[in-house]
């Protein structure tokens, strides 16, 4: 297997021009998918037999919660790549993705609270699932803080990468918190081994919303990495040419 693509990814210049053509289409597909999924889920999907219409917040809660964890996984992998292969692009990726992930984790907690009030009877409870997602949010904030607080850029890169990798331990805790301990949060509806615990007319719009949000975040991420590349590589000739030529 050729590792050429992997090493190419490490070149900011190559990544910049590759991502330039991908960001907009991916973002547009994402917006479209998210709108279709949300409108379908919030307006047309059937209501739940027990929770009625308050169940519909699942179409917001599940996509943002999945994205929060996926963003952290991607950030942790980027941290590992930086620590081992020292790719230039990896810290830019971490810096670009951390605020997106933080927003997703916060939205997961807020939408969960709005869902929890009518169904459970409380906005928040210190059970293992809710607490581990709060830890996820704080880890994102920690990575953002480390990268911004340290003046020395090499030190900042390294510190943020180490924190990203170490925080990966939290992901299995979030995933299995509802299985390992007694929690107020219910168990997983979707598992690999079993059929989903909801009919297709309920999970299909959810799937579309999830895929849409993944694409939307990917588009945002590519744009954020591009501006980070321009910022960090502003001394190189190709960036000067690019900025002069396109009047960015």
């Amino acid at each position: 297997m050729s590792w050429l693509w992997f090493h190419k990814l490490g070149s900011p210049k190559w990544f910049f021009f590759w991502s330039k053509s991908w960001a907009l289409p991916v973002f547009c597909i994402g917006c479209f998918g998210l709108v279709v999924g949300l409108v379908w889920g919030l307006a047309f999907a059937p209501e739940d037999y027990q929770q009625g219409n308050s169940f519909r917040i699942i179409y917001i809660h599940v996509p943002v919660a999945m994205l929060a964890q996926s963003c952290y996984l991607a950030m942790g992998v980027a941290g590992l790549i930086f620590l081992v292969w020292q790719m230039k692009i990896a810290p830019m990726f971490i810096k670009a993705i951390a605020p997106i992930g933080a927003v997703m984790a916060l939205m997961a907690m807020v939408s969960g609270a709005i869902w929890g009030k009518p169904t459970w009877g409380t906005w928040w409870v210190w059970d293992a699932r809710l607490t581990s997602v709060l830890v996820l949010f704080l880890l994102f904030m920690g990575v953002i803080a480390l990268q911004n607080a340290l003046e020395d850029i090499t030190l900042a890169n390294k510190a943020a990468a180490i924190m990203s990798v170490v925080g990966l331990i939290n992901l299995p805790i979030i995933k299995y918190s509802v299985v390992l301990w007694n929690t107020l949060h219910q168990g997983p509806t979707f598992t690999i081994t079993k059929k989903p615990e909801m009919p297709a007319e309920m999970w299909l719009p959810l799937l579309i919303a999830v895929v849409g949000l993944y694409c939307l975040v990917a588009g945002l991420l590519l744009w954020r990495i591009q501006s980070e590349i321009i910022l960090r590589e502003h001394r190189s000739n190709w960036v000067k040419q690019e900025v002069m030529g396109n009047g960015l």
Binding site: P46, E47, D48, Y49, Q50, Q51, G52, N53, S54, F55, I58, L80, L83, V84, W85, P118, T119, W120, G121, T122, V125, W126, D127, A128, V165, V166, L168, I169, I173, W181, N182, T183, L184, Q186, G187, P188, T189, E197, M198, P199, E201, M202
Partner: protein
């Protein structure tokens, strides 16, 4: 792989594994504190402390809910199908509270072994379905409720 990269990779993996193991041990030691509630079996075995605030959780026993007609007082039993515990509560129950549903109550165990709750939260399971499907799944001999409860 370049030997230096291999060394760094092993170092990072070692750090994560050691930290992961340490955290796993801490969580194993704190298992009882991480659990949100005591099950009726744990209460029956005397694992739950009395006269201090704890949470008890389980499924509401069918036909056990007794409401006081003159006040908001309500008493019901929760079970984990091995043991059950009686919970007494005064206040408004959450919308999802019903017989057969999971609940988590915050309160204290008194001398009689009943649980005086100051807060009752409803727990719902991971299954979702439209009302028509749930109607169709109900056993036929049971008379259907007059109206499907809806929460708009």
């Amino acid at each position: 792989m370049h030997p230096q990269r291999q060394k760094r990779l092993l170092a990072v993996i070692a750090i994560v594994l050691v930290l992961g193991a340490a955290l796993a041990l801490v969580m194993y030691a704190l298992k009882q504190n991480i659990n949100l509630f005591f099950s009726p079996s744990q209460i029956a075995m005397g694992e739950a402390p009395s006269k201090t605030n704890i949470r008890a959780g389980g499924l509401v026993v069918e036909g056990s809910v007794q409401r006081d007609p003159n006040s908001l007082a309500v008493s019901f039993q929760v079970t984990d199908f091995q043991h059950s515990v009686t919970i007494e509560y005064q206040g408004i129950l959450p919308d999802l509270f019903r017989e057969g549903q999971g609940v988590v109550a915050l309160g204290q165990l008194n001398e009689q072994g009943t649980f005086d709750a100051s807060q009752v939260l409803a727990k719902h399971d991971e299954k979702y379905m439209p009302p028509e499907v749930s109607e169709a799944l109900k056993p036929v001999e049971k008379p259907a409720p007059v109206a499907t409860p809806t929460y708009y």
